[in-house]
Subunit: 327 residues, 2 copies
């Protein structure tokens, strides 16, 4: 990486975003952090705020003047802000479209206006829907969208690749499996932890517990992002546009995960399953990504799913304030 | 089809939309036609307007109250309004997103509010980008979007399939090759015709003339749509969601097409190629759809590409007013 590069991180106070901010600062970047703190946590930027190379802009990714200001002078934009509430998308159908697709458009336009042309984007494995091919490669059969969240991220990918094609942007898109680890603020580990604090004797699990998921620790995730952005060009689908799955080479069942969480908390709850192959409408009962492409860049995970999940539980135990904050 | 069904057609004064309106009226439907006449032509609805089962609503697909009114009492919505200007998408990057994606969201919400749950949607083969597999099947490898138009249509598909999954909508999505025929108002035949009227001795052709395209006559296109919507359920990807390519089983090169157009006009112009494998940025040099799925419903084209293109030229010759209208 050239010395003194400057990056904008959107969603900088979020789970992955704030870890990325720390990582960039540690590796010599100047960082502009943008967040509206609607779901981001100020606590996650406390360390970063002490750094001389850090600047916070409190504002919204839908606000073009804010974006213009935030993007100015940057070489890279790490676009990590999102409405990440997959499960309740149907309760507010505009939210994913607005915050994930339309916001991405405004960001791309701000970048274009300021001649900032490098973008990394946090997409999602949810856009694979109920994948036909498992493990699912980046160029799997065109998936049917089963969630508004997945649809909104796929739409953002389409905008970004069109900007790469039409306006010469250089883009790396990352389709994450579920990411866990330090500053994890939503998802099943969070829900299970919270339920077990309220009632340590029983745990209700949505679905039949056989849903298979792949979990990646945020540290491994960030190493993958950096590899792909700065060493991955040869692996791009198009000259200026690369898509990379980021996940583990194994998966676990929700019932196993419930066991590890309980054990890490020193509990032995009775597990009650609500039944059905999906936890909720749009839930993908089997998410497992083919990660050959990112691995060809000499990347690998540094821990097992069990280690990643147990580590996440320990972080939650040390940061129980987050349970109150995120209802 | 049950007697006295009522359908909303959006983009009803457009090329495909107005042909669909006529077809629905001829086959016993009650039709609500919605158009804002930004690119639709009033002349295209002159015949329909004489029909007692026809009602016109002049309004915009982005206007929710208009949509609520238009959708009321319908069993089906044929969503055919679009910004169909693929080539100049980069000149106004918000237009495709707004008119193709966001408009579809508003329409789906109006339908949900009025409990109208059947939708047919005109998507596009442009969303296949530069397809890896040719002929391209509906479940081809996940394509990289190369145009804002394709990206906006794929995004709309994602919204529609999410509504099928989450809200029990019943949806048929059609990925068209280029459609030609009666009331054809834009595309290369239109451009070539216009250029040849201005200068019958020479014709400038964008690209090297080897771009391969598949053209479908609008009548064949409409027969396919009706087959898929009302006989296609068994072929759906998901219980309530089906995607169908609509195209011919052959393709032609732009240079061949230029020859047929010239010959139909009684001209022998010198053909001047601007060069390059694409006509413009985002142009897909080879579009050829795998149509096995729609054919399995006992559908086929009734004419060759040459016949379809020559017929289109004859329609343009009889309706030269459209050349002035569409700049």
């Amino acid at each position: 990486m050239p010395v003194q590069q400057k990056a904008l991180v959107t969603g900088a106070a979020g789970f992955v975003g704030s870890n990325l901010v720390d990582h960039l600062l540690e590796t010599g970047w100047e960082v502009v952090a943008l967040d509206n703190f609607s779901s981001g946590q100020r606590e996650f930027l406390v360390d970063a705020a002490r750094h001389p190379q850090f600047k916070l802009i409190e504002g919204d990714v839908l606000d073009r003047p804010t974006l213009d200001r935030a993007v100015q002078g940057c070489q890279w934009v790490f676009h990590f802000s999102a409405n990440a509430d997959v499960r309740f998308g149907l309760n507010h159908p505009f939210r994913d479209l607005e915050q994930n697709t339309i916001a991405t458009y405004h960001l791309l336009e701000a970048m274009r206006a300021q001649n900032v042309k490098n973008i990394a984007f946090s997409s999602t494995s949810a856009m694979y829907g109920e994948a036909e091919v498992i493990p699912t490669p980046e160029n799997c059969p065109l998936p049917i969208q089963t969630s508004l969240y997945g649809a909104s991220k796929l739409a953002a990918e389409g905008l970004i690749s069109s900007y790469a094609e039409g306006f010469g942007f250089n883009a790396c898109v990352f389709r994450f499996a579920s990411v866990v680890g330090k500053r994890y603020t939503h998802g099943h580990i969070f829900d299970f932890y919270k339920k077990l604090k309220a009632n340590p004797r029983e745990l209700e699990i949505l679905g039949d517990g056989t849903q298979k998921k792949s979990y990646l620790d945020v540290k491994d995730c960030l190493r993958g992002i950096m590899k792909a952005c700065f060493e991955g060009q040869a692996k791009y689908e198009r000259p200026r546009y690369g898509v990379f799955n980021l996940g583990t080479t194994t998966y676990c069942q929700v019932s196993e995960s419930a066991g590890w969480i309980s054990s890490e908390m020193g509990l032995e709850p009775k597990l009650n399953y609500t039944g059905g192959r999906q936890g909720w409408i749009g839930d993908n009962p089997f998410i497992y990504l083919d990660t050959k492409k990112i691995k060809s860049l000499n990347w690998d995970t540094s821990m097992s799913i069990e280690q990643a999940i147990r580590g996440t539980v320990r972080w939650l135990a040390q940061n129980e304030w987050i349970l109150e904050r995120r209802q």
